[in-house]
Amino acid sequence: MQISDQIFDDWVRQYHRLLYGIAYWWTGSRSDAEELTQEAFFQAYRSRSGLRDIEAVKAWLVGILRHCYAQMSRKGHGKIEVSLDEMRDEFGDFNPAAISAPDMSQALALHQSLDRLDERHRLPIVLFYFQDLSYREIAEALELPIGTVMSRLSRAREMLQKSLTTQHKLEIVKKVKRS
């Protein structure tokens, strides 16, 4: 398939925020997410002739992002732990007023819960919640059968819910102790 530079540049404008957001929730780091997104678009540009269906460009780009994330993980990049201070730093650079304290607390809890999930559950759950991708799109991006995606998502949602509930309870206990 012949994809002109103009069309590809339009895809960058249209999908860079989506890829960056997914990468951010996968890695938990703004700088890693930026690096991943950039590398994904560069790899996509080099292999654009391999795109078979132009309608499936979103899933194709997410699939390439996943490959880049796997490469980054193999090289030992990516954050393991996320602290509240780091969260404040990352949000604070650009729009400090946009994120309220409860939202930031929720975001941190989400980061920590995602970090506890193994990769095969973390990757689909981000695609599921962040961009509301369909099962089919998630299956294409992760190169998995749709049934596997559904079962992994079901399990991941359950684990995420339990993790968040546990953290919520721990927060209440901490508050009670402080008071």
């Binding site: 530079d5 590809f8 540049d9 960058v12 404008r13 860079h16 960056y20 957001g21 951010y24 929730w25 703004r30 997410a33 930026e34 997104t37 950039q38 678009f41 560069f42 540009y45 080099r46 990352e90 949000f91 650079d93 650009f94 729009n95 994120i99 939202d103 930031m104 929720q106 975001a107 989400l110 981000v126 599921f128 919640y129 962040f130 509301d132 369909s134 559904m150 079962s151 998502l153 079901s154 399990r155 949602r157 359950e158 995420l160 819910q161 968040l164």
Partner: protein, 241 residues
């Protein structure tokens, strides 16, 4: 089916899912308050999570960075392309050249030779003429010397059978063969006779020569014989050099 088995269905369901395949789960929710409560909690939690997922730090310069990087890649590719293409076509060019040399070139050369031979056979050389027509020969000689076609009076009785253009000491000259005496020939040089312009070196071993000038051209009578025989010929033809 127990509640535990329906739980996996509750976690698998999402808005927009195929209603028919989840109908047994909804039937169960209608009659199981505990599972219905789990479903409600999960749905509410999903909405909250979706909002939380949308809270991430913006990267306002990312788009520009990607587009700039792509432009740089394209520029690099454009500079590399000619070298790559050149080396790719080298075997093709070499093969074509080999085919040309082995197959087409000899044929073309033969055709060119045939054309040149045909041209030579159809038209005489421009610098030589075979004719016994005195006027034609003198006109041809005059054209080559770029001067008058008339000969001095002392040569009025001489007939010719052919002529050729030669160069004598960087001067144009015409060499005429006599018709009535095969041993004799006349050289007309488009230059004045001076002390330095001698023709002694041109004497044939068994012949002699006589030369004179009319102030504009130099005439040399070459004779393949003795001086006496040449003088006899000159007397017979009325040539008084």
């Amino acid at each position: 089916m127990s509640c535990e088995l329906y739980k996996s269905e509750i976690y698998a369901w999402r808005p927009g899912s195929d209603a028919a395949s989840f109908q047994p789960m909804f039937d169960h929710l209608a009659c199981c308050p505990e599972c219905a409560r789990l479903f409600e909690e999960l749905t509410a939690s999903d909405r909250s999570l979706q909002r939380t997922f949308q809270n991430f730090p913006e990267s306002p310069y990312l788009e520009n960075r990607i587009l700039t990087g792509l432009a740089h890649q394209r520029a690099q590719k454009a500079t590399r392309r000619p070298t790559w293409k050149f080396w790719m076509f080298v075997p093709v060019f070499a093969s074509l050249l080999l085919v040309f040399l082995l197959g087409i070139a000899p044929r073309l050369q033969q055709a060119r030779l045939n054309r040149e031979v045909a041209t030579l056979l159809s038209t005489p050389p421009a610098l030589q003429i075979d004719s016994t027509d005195r006027n034609q020969l003198l006109a041809w000689s005059a054209a080559k010397l770029e001067s008058s076609s008339t000969l001095p009076a002392e040569l009025s009785r001489v007939e010719f059978r052919g002529a050729a253009v030669v160069t004598i000491a960087n001067h144009k000259a015409v060499y005429l063969k006599m018709k009535n005496e095969r041993r004799a020939s006349l050289l007309i040089v488009d230059a004045r006779l001076t002390r330095q312009n001698g023709f002694h070196s041109m004497h044939e071993n068994s012949g002699t020569a006589s030369l004179w000038s009319d102030g504009r051209r130099t005439y040399v009578l070459l004779f393949n014989g003795s001086d006496q025989e040449m003088e006899a010929y000159m007397a017979k033809m009325g040539i008084a050099a």
